[in-house]
Symmetry: C2
Subunit: 426 residues, 2 copies
Amino acid sequence: MSSFSPSYSCHKLQESMLSSASSFKNYRGILNWCVVMLVLSNARLFLENLLRNGILVDPIQVVSLFLKDPYSWPAACLVIVSNVFILVALYTERKLAMGSISEKVGLLIYIFNLTIILCFPMVVVLKLLSITPVGGAFALGVYTILFLKLYSYKDVNWWCRERTQAKARKTHGNVDWSYFDLCFSDIYYFVFAPTLCYELNFPRSESIRMGFLLRRLFEMTYFISNVLSIVFQWMVPIIRSSMKPLQEMDYSRMTERLLRLAVPNHLIWLIFFYWFFHSSMNFVAELLRFGDREFYRDWWNSETITYFWQNWNIPVHKWCLRHFYKPLLRRGAGKLLSQSAVFFASAFFHEYLVSVPLRMFRLWAFMGMMAQLPLAWFVARFLRGNYGNAAVWLSLIIGQPITVLMYVHDYYVTHCQDDPTIAEAL
Amino acid sequence: MSSFSPSYSCHKLQESMLSSASSFKNYRGILNWCVVMLVLSNARLFLENLLRNGILVDPIQVVSLFLKDPYSWPAACLVIVSNVFILVALYTERKLAMGSISEKVGLLIYIFNLTIILCFPMVVVLKLLSITPVGGAFALGVYTILFLKLYSYKDVNWWCRERTQAKARKTHGNVDWSYFDLCFSDIYYFVFAPTLCYELNFPRSESIRMGFLLRRLFEMTYFISNVLSIVFQWMVPIIRSSMKPLQEMDYSRMTERLLRLAVPNHLIWLIFFYWFFHSSMNFVAELLRFGDREFYRDWWNSETITYFWQNWNIPVHKWCLRHFYKPLLRRGAGKLLSQSAVFFASAFFHEYLVSVPLRMFRLWAFMGMMAQLPLAWFVARFLRGNYGNAAVWLSLIIGQPITVLMYVHDYYVTHCQDDPTIAEAL
């Protein structure tokens, strides 16, 4: 029998591709499927809605998210004022490089400058009632990014100064200040570049690819309209209908509404991720010929919570590693302590970016971030492979809308009950 | 400047992972995301429906899909009768092996046997009105699989006989018939094994993994209930509401209904694919310790229509290649002619499996299959990479529901207009 089987055999011992035992991992097509389904269901909904209701997305309502009075732009003014802090950082570095102020004075100016960057917009947003929550969140986001960038600017320039001086001391030569590039164009390139980590020499791409730029621009506008239609046509009705169960603490209905809210909320988060971390950042990078496009890694495959947090937002992760975690380790802090400190700082900024614009201090975002620590331990301890990955997805899909619903509920209770016009608008 | 940049640089020239320029392809996590979303939205719908309506899936209605009269099981009887044809094939091979009948007589018996396998169930389904469309499709499916299997059985035994005799002639020895394994257990193992290609020695796995078996069994039951709930809660209402526009040939409404039907139809097809080609086939293979689990390849990444048809159904693809395409080439047919012949045969069987159970000859399935040829040319000619992949997905998502709607419309017009009870049941 054996003499025939080789030539006529057409089977061999092997596993199916979808089995976890197989090592096959190429599912690029599934991603394309998701995009096709998204575009298709959007096209259908758009047609149906247009035929039935006309356009529900109200452009005036969209504008009113950002502005209360179209003649005063408080959030935009805040962003323009932020230039002052950039100039302070640049002049401080110039003085430090020339040696006209000591390192201690420089550090003091920086501490002062960075503290004001965080406190000034907070005070403005809390006091100036004409700033809307969305406008306030935008301004605070810009200031937070600026805080992280200038902190990195300070660190890198300080490291370079130390090195140059050490070298000059060794060779008994003069300090060669031409190493430093303390001009306007350099710091403004860094401010607009899609990174939080300063470097003397950024890698640059060779040219601006017009096709790439236009595709990213198209994606940016398409996905913005996408998010807006999901918010107005899908989320607002659910949130509106879950106010009553939330007030009455009707748990079974609350759970149902929560699960209902989870899907659009998750879709918005996914679209936001793609819009911000792929389309927008690549667009800006292409315009500035900024070479390093690693704005995210493959967090969608993460099998532990830790892997997710290390890979979904690379600019922030890089900054934390370079300017917070490693300096802590160098100063003798333990690994677990340093990790917890990073998580704590991250939780603080999450809370800062949510509580201040809403003018409510409820710590839901802070607690949501801190809850990641025990969750990470649980997933790493008990779940492996695809089960771990499914747990990460579940925590994303379910965890976020809980926090969102908490804030919406509290916002409703504090702001809208007394003011029937806002309650109606919501 | 250059002396500092290496140690403090933390950026390098690279593309984003989601860019088509990057070679990154691992999206296993996206697949898990799809599964989590499916399970979650099912759980929510289940809860909501149970709270609101009780159970809508009617078990009696499910049974009535297969049976009209619970005391007569015509489709099951047809399947039991099929054993006759298996035994005819086995006894013919035994006689041929012993030399008691000539090759010509053997071929004649086979032609007779195989023709009856295709015609007999067709006649029964067309004449016996107590067979429901679902029961008829099931019986015809079983007979079609049997036809392909026995055709392969004939070919392989014939090839082996020719070889053995050629060898015996060369060595002037006796023909060693012990090479052949013409016993009941061998042919029945082949009939139940998840393959259409006969082989003297199938590769076998070492043992039955109980965990694997139970997981596949769980998937099989879960996905069946899933398909049933999609059909009854989602598709039936859409099809019912699209009857009127179809009758009145109201094109704008027809398009809207078609797009609406596309999503549940596509989901059912995807679940069916996983249920049949992964869960069920792996379950049977594990039970029989059948080693070759390649029932599909990565069709989800296919960038051409041809790649899709070559990779989504490996048992049929293997059979076509081994027993139809290559023999045609050996007999001197051209490549294009042979390929078209395979497509033509495939279109014939698609039509056979749809038209006969519905008792309507409309050629929609046949035309749907034949339309793949110009489509394949178009996609291969004009679209590349992810765009080609998206085109394949679109043809799957849009193409299928068009055919489904055509048949449903014709079925409704011919069967239901005269008979108000069926119209009501639909």
